[in-house]
């Protein structure tokens, strides 16, 4: 509670006590004739002004500026109207309830705002900068790229960097929502915002604080709510007309029925009820609050949504297109099969490692990684790259050939062409002195959660799952089959991917949306083109963050179904709030017009609706 709120609360309580006192006096005292109303009117003035003097003052000021449909003004007219018809206690009660409602709204909004900012409590307060062999506590803003910082156990990593010494488990929950700590050691990347759990880490800073993961996340979440969803725009436009329309209805109720059947006083009183429910605040507040909570809940799970509108659009997703490499697969090539012919697997791998020793190709790197032992380069002579086919080299004085089917067809060496059990991949055939020695299959691994992620996405109701890839068709189809994806578009250049997404956009139901998920490398144009672009594991890649609408802090594809579920829930809450708040207001107006609800009931219902709508909105946070 802020100081201002405390003061207002105190004032409301005092006004309430005074009001009760006046009600008692009203029953006990009675004065002769006209005096009764006059004296009591003056007595009730005390709690009335205590409760609502600020409303009255504001209404006078605002009306002088020409703001006719100002809430303060309307409340003042309604209560003074009630006062004028001799309903003193009603007038005071309405003002009191109105103030309680306003107070509560501010309180609730503040609380949920705080609980969301608490979630985002990843801002580091200081960095331990290593300077001339001593540790100096410094503002993270003042640390430069290349500086070395030390993070002690229990501290937040203040800036992004590379670990140069030490190892530790770090808690990434604040960034990714992932509760299992991750081990990092020398050579690994350290992300700001993670909490060092047990070791001492020496980190060389690679990004200034302004560009760090923490700063990016905070910026994204803070700015998200300025990009408004259609529902928000609808409700602000609606609110603009709602108040004047209700006021005209009030005038109509006050004038038309009594012209036909008299009873001016009664109809005037009923008209005041309309003024009480003319404030659209419950509606106006609960919609942005719902989206804000949804965005907050998503960021807690490591899903950064760049605007309320994207949450809304994601809730309508029907088609989802995945990039393959780095998104569904790890993007790391690994030897998955060694099929020797007449020699051992180790010997085959050794031949491959020697053959690929001088190559810069990623495939060569994965072979060397699988071999692990050192290669004695002195054994290698006459290294030749046969463009588009493979490598020929003299190893131990014998000709070693390593390459694809084309190479072996040309050299007329028979190979084992049975399909591999390990699935499709890049196959290297190996021959020594013209004799086939075996083959090695190298493939990209499917990510751990990918199969489950696709299942979850289908279960959520996104029925068209597409995979886009630059890979060869047979490789792509095998991966897709293992993941349970039905549509594969393979052998695409980056520009083709944009064209394919445009095709999907053209085919979709106009009410629905198309999502594209990529890892942010080379697919920024596709991220931009899709209705919703999701970049995963993109922290640190500014272009991807810029292009995407939703950023997954880590690269877990299962987060997509989570994001979708949050989007659906948020939109559902928004709809409930609109229907509920409007429904109750219309109901009160009807009941009021027929004399079935008094002003008390009206203001009570109005405040109650705001209360429930706010509570409902905060559900989106969980």
């Amino acid at each position: 509670m802020t100081n201002k709120q405390k003061k207002t609360l105190l004032r409301i309580i005092i006004a309430f006590v005074l009001f009760l006192l006046c009600v008692v006096l009203d029953h006990v005292l009675s004065f002769p004739g006209k005096w009764d109303a006059l004296v009591k009117g003056v007595i009730f003035m005390v709690p009335y002004l205590m409760a609502g003097y600020d409303v009255v003052i504001k209404s006078v000021k605002n009306i002088s500026k020409g703001h006719v449909f100002d809430e303060n003004f309307l409340m003042t007219v309604a209560t003074i109207g009630a006062y004028g018809t001799g309903e003193f206690s009603e007038a005071v009660a309405v003002m009191l309830f109105y103030q309680v409602g306003e107070w509560f709204q501010k309180y609730a909004v503040n609380r949920s705002r705080n609980s969301i900012t608490d979630l985002m409590n990843i801002m580091p307060e200081y960095a331990n900068l290593l300077r001339d062999g001593k540790l100096v506590q410094t503002d993270p803003y003042e640390v430069a790229v290349g500086d070395v910082i030390v993070v002690q156990p229990g501290e937040k990593i203040p800036l992004d960097g590379k670990v140069i010494e030490g190892e530790a488990f770090v808690d990434t929950a604040a960034l990714t929502g992932e509760s299992v700590p991750r081990k990092i050691a020398a050579g690994d990347e350290a992300l700001s915002g993670c909490i060092n759990q047990n070791g001492v880490l020496k980190i060389e800073v690679t990004r200034e604080f302004d560009h760090s993961t923490v700063a990016k996340i905070l910026e994204l979440v803070e700015n998200a709510s300025t990009r408004k969803a259609k529902y928000e725009q609808f409700i602000t436009r609606f609110a603009k007309y709602y108040t004047p329309v209700v006021c005209f209805l009030a005038v109509a109720v006050a004038v038309i029925p009594p012209l036909l059947m008299g009873a001016w006083g009664m109809w005037f009183h009923r008209a005041l009820i309309f003024l009480v429910v003319s404030c659209p605040c419950a509606l106006v507040i609960s919609i942005p609050l719902s989206f804000f909570s949804g965005i907050g809940g998503a960021s807690k799970a490591g899903i950064l949504v760049k605007g309320s509108n994207f949450l809304e659009l994601l809730g309508k997703a029907e088609t989802i297109a995945f990039d393959k490499t780095g998104t569904l697969t790890k993007g790391v090539f690994r030897v998955v099969e060694l099929a020797p012919a007449g020699i051992t697997k180790e010997e085959l791998l050794e031949l491959a490692a020697y053959g690929e020793y001088y190559s810069n190709h990623p495939i060569a790197a994965s072979v060397r990684q699988a071999y692990q032992k050192d290669v004695n380069a002195e054994l290698l002579h006459d290294y030749k790259e046969l463009s588009g086919m493979g490598i020929s080299v003299v190893f131990h004085g014998r000709e070693l050939l390593i390459g694809n089917q084309r190479l072996f067809a040309e050299k007329q060496i028979a190979v084992n062409s049975e399909p591999s059990d390990a699935g499709a991949g890049t196959i290297l055939y190996i021959a020594l002195e013209g004799v086939y020695q075996g083959r090695i299959t190298i493939a990209d691994e499917i990510k751990d959660g990918a199969v489950q992620a696709i299942k979850d996405i289908r279960a959520c109701g996104m029925n068209q799952v597409v995979m886009l890839t630059g890979d060869k068709k047979d490789v792509a189809e095998q991966v897709a089959a293992r993941l349970g994806i039905d549509t594969v578009m393979a052998e695409l250049m980056p520009a083709d991917k944009v064209a394919k997404v445009e095709e999907l956009l053209a085919q979709k139901n106009p009410e629905k949306t198309v999502v594209f998920v990529g890892d942010g490398i080379n697919d920024a144009p596709v991220l931009v083109r899709a209705d919703i672009g999701i970049a995963m594991g993109a922290m640190g890649q500014d272009a991807a963050i810029e292009a995407a609408d939703i950023v997954l802090v880590d690269d877990d594809p299962e987060k997509i179904a989570t994001a979708y579920a949050i989007a659906r829930k948020t939109v559902a809450i928004v709809k409930q709030n609109i229907v509920f708040a409007l429904g109750v207001k219309i109901l009160i107006m009807l009941l009021g017009a027929f004399g079935l609800a008094g002003m008390w009931a009206a203001v009570f219902a109005d405040v109650g609706v705001a209360f429930l709508a706010i509570l409902n909105a905060t559900r989106a946070l969980k």
Partner: protein, 72 residues
């Protein structure tokens, strides 16, 4: 270009909507948006127009809610 400003003490959602509408209509403003929840005002306009626009925006904000202000 776009600039963001912190708002102070805007505590009614409908007022925020009114302020946003008013600021959007100011000459030179290409777009404006208020996030009531984050208490942030974003204005898109030409660089050399910002001084004038901010003064006018401050007046609009004060006009709608006396206690509210733009911090700049």
């Amino acid at each position: 270009m776009k600039k963001r400003f912190q708002l102070n003490d805007v505590d009614c959602a409908n007022c925020a909507a009114k302020m946003e509408e008013g600021i959007k209509k100011l000459p030179g403003v290409k777009d404006a948006s208020i996030s009531f929840m984050a208490q942030k005002l974003t204005i898109e306009a030409e660089e050399d127009q910002f001084d004038r626009i901010l003064k006018a925006a401050q007046k609009i904000v004060r006009d709608i809610d006396e206690e509210a202000s733009i911090q700049y």
